[in-house]
């Protein structure tokens, strides 16, 4: 299955086309999505940890929309990149570890939004539990970037 994906016409086009619109563009969009997703998540996390306390949470709720849009972009471009290298990525432990960290980061985003942003009233004090979620979120995204980057060197 993985081998047939890696040998598909799509994979061949993505990897061996000389067009700048093939692999380079897909990879760049994936990097762009990562930067936007992790950038938005880390700003929400830093706010919850007490940096920029004056920022009303309501005013940055829109950043969750940015995060999901960026995630959608990366789910698509990531799938394309996976197909291109399916025979290498499929059995790679680092690759699945990366996906697990991405999932953890997304779960944290959902929990953070549910606990701090929904329900109308602005929380006066950010609870210890919310701060722990923010720290886990920062660590999860850092780990996702680390494992993602390592794919280019180790796997």
């Amino acid at each position: 299955m993985l081998t047939s994906l890696a040998q598909s016409a799509f994979s061949t086009w993505l990897l061996s086309s000389n067009s700048i619109w093939a692999y380079p563009t897909v990879l760049t969009l994936h990097t762009f999505g990562m930067m936007v997703l992790v950038g938005a998540a880390s700003m929400i996390d830093l706010r919850l940890l007490g940096f920029g306390r004056g920022i009303p949470l309501q005013s940055i709720e829109r950043l969750f929309r940015v995060m999901w849009a960026a995630f959608a972009l990366n789910a698509v471009t990531g799938t394309m990149l996976f197909i291109a290298d399916a025979d290498k990525r499929g059995p790679s432990l680092i690759f699945w570890t990366k996906l697990a960290f991405v999932a953890l980061g997304l779960v944290m985003a959902v929990l953070i939004r549910r606990r701090n942003f929904e329900g109308g009233a602005e929380p006066v004090v950010i609870s210890g539990a919310a701060k722990r979620l923010a720290i886990i979120s920062l660590l999860a995204w850092s780990a996702a970037i680390t494992t993602g980057r390592l794919l280019a060197y180790v796997a």
């Binding site: 692999y23 380079p24 930067m35 992790v38 700003m43 680390t146 980057r149």
Partner: protein, 321 residues
């Protein structure tokens, strides 16, 4: 239009640009000293702005210097040892210059928060900028030893000695370290991506507020996040320098890298403008920024995405790796 991928033209560019760090830092220090005499805080602010801009302008100077060294490789009448000595001195002064620029920005940022300049930061910038003048002048003098027959035999030629590897910082040592330890490059790449995300997160929140897409927050409340943006830049400057020093020939002639440096400088300028943009900082939470503010915010976002784009495209548009 000079062909920027041409080593000779890049070397020419180095000869044009290399006066900016020396003269610019002296100008910055001069304005700072004058501000003490005239007891003028506004002038202090200007001197910090000048030092920050010169720190940005030093980037293409260092980068084009590596191209100039490649252009001179193997030419007769050129002392390779003098090039190495100049390069190490230039690298040291470049690092010092960036630290000075960082503290100059920090002083401007603190001023925004507490309404006046703090003595501690002001004197830190003064000491750092004087050290930078000394370091950058030494680098400039050492450059004279590379190939300027008109100064040979003069009492200032070879003023700082011709021996290599005696300096505090050795570019060759850094290069060897990066290339001999296989974990260094991937580690730097990872940190480079984390720094980029952090930097873009800050730029996004501030500039989307300026543009008007994020609403209901004052600039004063976002103030505390700005240093995280510069922290991200610091991580990326350090890791980026490891890449550049270890494989400079991959970058010097790479047109994607040239664009990256140009856009990075412009993004730096927009970050400075944002820091000292009084109208925006005075805006209440619900108010919209004026049109110039919106344009500034939009251009900052476009520039920073451009920096990322040309960085990612180094192997594809250019010829790196």
């Amino acid at each position: 239009m000079p062909n920027l991928a041409n080593l000779a033209d890049l070397a020419h560019l180095h000869l044009l640009l290399n006066h900016f760090p020396t003269i610019g830092t002296i100008l910055g220090v001069g304005l700072l000293l004058l501000s003490f005499i005239r007891k003028n805080d506004h002038l202090k602010k200007v001197s910090f702005e000048v030092l920050f801009l010169i720190a940005l302008a030093t980037m293409p100077v260092y980068v084009s210097g590596s191209a100039a060294a490649e252009a001179l490789k193997g030419q007769s009448g050129v002392s390779q040892a003098a090039i190495v000595t100049h390069n190490d001195a230039a690298l040291g002064s470049f690092i010092l210059m960036e630290i000075t620029g960082f503290f100059a920005w920090l002083a401007l940022w603190r001023m925004r928060r507490i309404g006046r300049l703090t003595t501690g930061l002001t004197y830190t910038v003064l000491v750092l900028s004087v050290l930078t003048v000394a370091a950058v002048s030494r680098a400039a003098l050492l450059a004279g030893d590379i190939r300027h027959p008109e100064i040979e035999g003069g009492q200032y030629a070879g003023l700082f000695g011709q021996s290599t590897g005696s300096g505090f910082i050795s570019a060759a040592g850094i290069k060897d370290y990066v290339l001999q330890h296989p974990y260094v490059w991937p580690t730097c790449e990872t940190l480079h991506f984390i720094g980029m995300s952090l930097m873009f997160g800050v730029l996004m929140i501030v500039n989307l507020r300026l543009v008007g897409w994020l609403r209901g927050m004052s600039f004063a409340s976002v103030h505390r996040l700005l240093p995280f943006g510069l922290m991200g830049f610091g991580i990326n400057f350090i890791t980026g320098m490891f890449f550049f020093i270890a494989a400079s020939e991959q970058y010097t002639q790479n047109v994607a890298f040239h664009w990256k440096v140009v856009l990075l400088m412009l993004a730096g300028v927009s970050f400075l403008v944002l820091t000292v943009y009084d109208e925006a900082w005075a805006l209440p939470a619900s108010a919209e920024a004026p049109l110039t503010g919106k344009l500034l915010g939009a251009s900052a976002l476009v520039l920073s995405v451009g920096v990322m784009y040309f960085g990612r495209m180094l192997p594809f548009i250019g010829n790196a790796f």
